[in-house]
């Protein structure tokens, strides 16, 4: 069956498990989501489910977006995301709820957009070691060092690590254990951290490495 949801990161806290041990959890408000489209091999060449999340005023959307949603009698939604699924078993226009997808002790993968760090040096971005601090050094402490060889090849290879923009990337946290599910409030708590700021959009999927 298809498993996947769109949600918002609320923040981190601790909860106590049945043994009284403190567990670090990230709370996510997930769903309810609408099935806005089902992709089929005949029509689209692959199988997938398109979900929509967070109702908005109709004037926030373009005419094309409104028409797409209206076709399946779904309210205006801010976010649309597609999930690959071999055997969806859902219909266009359905709503999907957190409680029927994930339960405590399941494992999930969570996709988010990491916090933007701006232009960062090599030490912070790629854990370069930097230069020596002492022995007469003046400005080498966080320097990136060499970027490659000399006359041959005479250029820097593409993809060489160095200073540059860090963060604001799509990041997946795999195999997070579900510690708490509140179906009434569409609230899920997963053990550990989740990429992105509080209030950031996250996508929940079934853990692919289980």
């Amino acid at each position: 069956m298809f498993k996947g949801l769109i949600g918002k990161k609320i923040g981190m806290t601790q909860i106590f498990d049945e043994n009284g041990a403190a567990v670090p959890v990230t709370l996510i408000e997930a769903g309810p989501c609408y099935v806005t489209q089902v992709r089929t091999p005949d029509k689209d060449g692959y199988t997938a489910v398109q979900l929509g999340y967070e109702e908005v005023k109709p004037k926030r959307l373009s005419g094309g977006e409104l028409g797409h949603l209206k076709r399946n009698n779904v309210p205006p939604l801010r976010f649309l995301r597609e999930f690959r699924s071999k055997d969806p078993q859902v219909q266009e226009g359905d709503t999907v709820q957190l409680a029927e997808m994930f339960s405590v002790d399941d494992h999930v993968d969570i996709v988010g957009t990491s916090k933007g760090r701006g232009f960062q040096g090599g030490v912070k971005r790629y854990h370069f070691r930097g230069g020596p601090k002492t022995h007469g050094q003046s400005d080498r402490l966080r320097a990136p060092g060499s970027r490659g060889s000399g006359t041959t090849p005479g250029r820097v290879f593409k993809g060489a690590r160095g200073p540059g923009h860090m963060g604001d990337d799509r990041v997946t946290s795999q195999n997070l254990k579900v510690a708490l599910v509140d179906g009434e409030r569409n609230l899920i708590g997963v053990r550990g951290a989740v990429p992105g700021p509080r209030g950031g959009l996250v996508i929940l999927k079934e853990a692919r490495k289980q």
Partner: protein, 115 residues
Amino acid sequence: MNDILKSVEAPVNQDIPELAPGDSVSVHVKIKEGNRERIQEFKGIVLYTHNNDGNSSTFTVRRVASNGVGVERTFLTRSPRIAKVVVERHASVRRGRLYFLRTLTGKAARLKQKY
């Protein structure tokens, strides 16, 4: 803190009174041995309390064990493993964190009682 975050927190244990640095306390900790559950007491002086809001609040108790070895233990205030805390004595102290007790032993490590 966010209201939704607050809503998943453990309830406040009514058997834990407000703790202050310098209090002589006896912490009753639930310990599981196989299927049996028993209570162990940890008696000492509260060195400091931390983060007094929500699930992550803690307090640290110092006790001088045999041979004058100091033992410090930090408890999560909202943990279900704590049955209750009994305050035996309040002391008048002028600091929020009583780190100075670590270097003192015997008579010098006494605190003045607060009435």
